[in-house]
């Protein structure tokens, strides 16, 4: 049996099997509400009590502080953690694991289904904020919009993949994933020095801050930082994603899943 042909085929079948269910799951529905918050805040900031002449500022604040720092990690963890964890909790993992398919395809297929739903939510949220702020005076530049929305989508990939891998390895993976995304990364961000470089948020921000951090100026009040070059940053994020993918696939192939009776 050829792994090179079997893996993509089985991954595609698993992806199709679970895409619809993932899209209408309670998690996804809660995700819609959650993803609607940044556009709602943007609308309030520009139309009610705020200054209509600060489109770029609103976009950067909400894009970074809310969308990139809270919404993307939270949705990434919630939608990504269930790739294998949901199957073991529901005790349905027996079925795909007793079919002639590579086990890694179950991990990949389910994660990709979650990723598609997650990406749609994040894209809608980012596009919503962009659409509202671009109608204001001093709108954000297209490069900044593109960069931030791209960074948000990449954040979704990384956080969901990390959560999926954690869900494979640990029984109570969600608390570990949330702990990393919110407690650990926040702690790293506040420790002076190079500790920030251990967090995903540092590299994600580096993707869109622009030359000499031009796009970050309005946020300096929060965290003055020195960032990496965008291409170096994206390279490191891709390597991280590749490593996580490999760990996930290898672990799910070798691990024995003991289901509770």
């Amino acid at each position: 049996m050829n792994l090179i042909t079997e893996l993509p085929r089985a991954t595609w079948l698993i992806f199709r099997m679970h895409l619809a269910a993932t899209a209408v799951s309670r998690r996804a529905l809660a995700g819609i509400l959650f993803a609607a918050i940044p556009p709602l805040f943007a609308f309030l900031a520009l139309n009610i009590g705020g200054d209509g002449d600060m489109g770029e500022r609103v976009f950067m604040y909400l894009g970074v502080l809310v969308l990139l720092q809270v919404v993307a990690p939270a949705l990434g963890v919630f939608l990504g953690i269930g790739a294998i964890a949901d199957e073991t909790e529901a005790r349905t993992i027996t079925y795909p694991f007793t079919r002639p398919i590579p086990r890694a395809s179950v991990f990949l297929g389910r994660w990709l289904a979650s990723l598609l739903v997650l990406s749609v939510l994040l894209l809608a949220s980012g596009a919503g904020v962009a659409a509202i702020t671009m109608r204001a005076s001093s709108p954000p530049s297209p490069e900044a919009v593109q960069g931030l929305v791209g960074a948000t989508l990449l954040a979704g990939v990384l956080y969901s993949l990390g959560a999926a891998v954690i869900g494979v390895i640990f029984k109570r993976g969600q608390v570990i994933a949330l702990g990393y995304a919110f407690a650990f990364e926040v702690m790293l961000a506040n420790i002076p020095g190079s500790a920030q470089k251990l967090s995903l948020q540092f590299y994600l921000r580096s993707l869109f801050v622009g030359d000499d951090g031009a796009n970050w100026r309005s946020l300096e009040i929060f965290e003055p930082s020195k960032f990496l070059d965008a291409s170096a940053s994206s390279e490191r994020l891709m390597v991280t994603a590749a490593i996580l993918l490999a760990i996930g696939c290898i672990t799910v192939t070798r691990k024995q899943f003991v289901l509770s009776s």
């Binding site: 079997e6 079948l13 619809a20 269910a21 349905t92 027996t94 694991f97 007793t98 002639p100 009776s261």
Partner: protein
């Protein structure tokens, strides 16, 4: 006949809990019952057979191959798990069809096979309904359908009769007999011994993770020589009957029962007892009205082995 399942010194534990101790057993083609009380290790053994778990020690081959991580073997295996778990968002037909597609069938082929399997388990009317609306018995039959749909050489069913009403149980047993007639081997587990007895004579008895006995019930019974066979009798004059039976060499004990007219005889040679009884009873004139000799049942055998 080569064994379809061969276990040698097989062991699997969960931390400090022993799932299987030191199990060495062979399963021949046909229908075999894997029986034992709750916690005996039946489910663990089945999960090892289908490659869901890896043995901690010993060797296990199924259809000549090691199960864990063996994708090719799964083409020839069908597994009906014990847990009541299905993909709730799917219909029965979608569930079986999608699992068949994972086995390499095209959509059309998979759909045809799924429909045939669901008809075979009696779900022809319900196959297009969502499984979250199924009754317990229907869910069990759906699990069975996915195990047989791809025409495996070996079907392993973990407690397939649990939760079924008597009619469904009979239909399921007929299904297993039909599979066996088609050349498929079946291993079914149960802790309800008489259910399996209705289906097959070939048993593997396990207890506390170890092999207790294997073979047909009658052969195993014959091997338990230390336990005399027991016969329950009802007679108008039990004392006279007891007096007539006592001189027989193979009689070990005779006890008068608490209920009037009953007595229990223990004999070392049940066949000789059966041969001699009619003549002795007639000569005694004790008015025998009841004769029960069911300690060749699986339950009795199990009690003797464990007790």
């Amino acid at each position: 006949m080569s064994a379809i399942v061969l276990a040698e010194n097989l062991g699997r534990w969960y931390g400090e809990v022993v799932g299987l101790g030191d199990l060495s057993v062979e399963f021949e083609p046909g229908i075999t019952g894997l029986v034992g009380p709750n916690g005996a290790g039946k489910s663990t053994f089945m999960k090892l057979m289908v490659g869901e778990l890896r043995p901690a020690r010993g060797r296990l081959t199924v259809l000549g191959e090691t199960p864990f991580g063996n994708r090719a073997l799964h083409r020839h295996l069908g597994f009906c798990p014990q847990q009541d778990a299905l993909y709730e968002h799917q219909t029965g037909r979608q569930f079986v069809r999608d699992l068949l597609r994972l086995g390499g069938w095209s959509r059309r082929e998979a759909d045809g096979l799924a429909v045939r399997a669901l008809e075979r388990v009696g779900l022809e009317d319900a196959m297009d309904r969502k499984v979250n609306g199924y009754s317990k018995g229907m869910r069990q039959r759906t699990r069975l359908a996915q195990a047989i749909a791809h025409g495996p050489k070996l079907v392993i069913a973990d407690e397939p009769l649990t939760g079924l009403d008597p009619i469904a149980r009979r239909q399921t047993n007929e299904l297993f007999r039909g599979l066996a007639e088609d050349g498929c081997s079946v291993i079914i587990s149960s802790h309800v011994l008489h259910e399996v007895e209705n289906l097959t004579e070939t048993m593997v008895l396990i207890h506390r993770g170890r092999l207790l006995a294997q073979g047909s019930v009658r052969e195993v019974r014959r091997l338990i020589s230390r336990h005399p066979s027991r016969v329950d009798l009802v007679a108008r004059d039990p004392r006279r009957l007891a007096t007539a039976l006592l001189p027989l060499d193979h009689i070990r004990t005779i006890k008068l029962g608490a209920d009037p007219g009953t007595l229990t005889v223990e004999t070392d040679d049940i066949a000789a007892f059966h041969s001699a009884f009619a003549g002795v009873a007639a000569a005694a004139g004790a008015g025998v009205s009841g004769f029960k000799s069911d300690d060749a049942s699986l339950e009795a055998v199990f009690d003797y082995l464990v007790g």
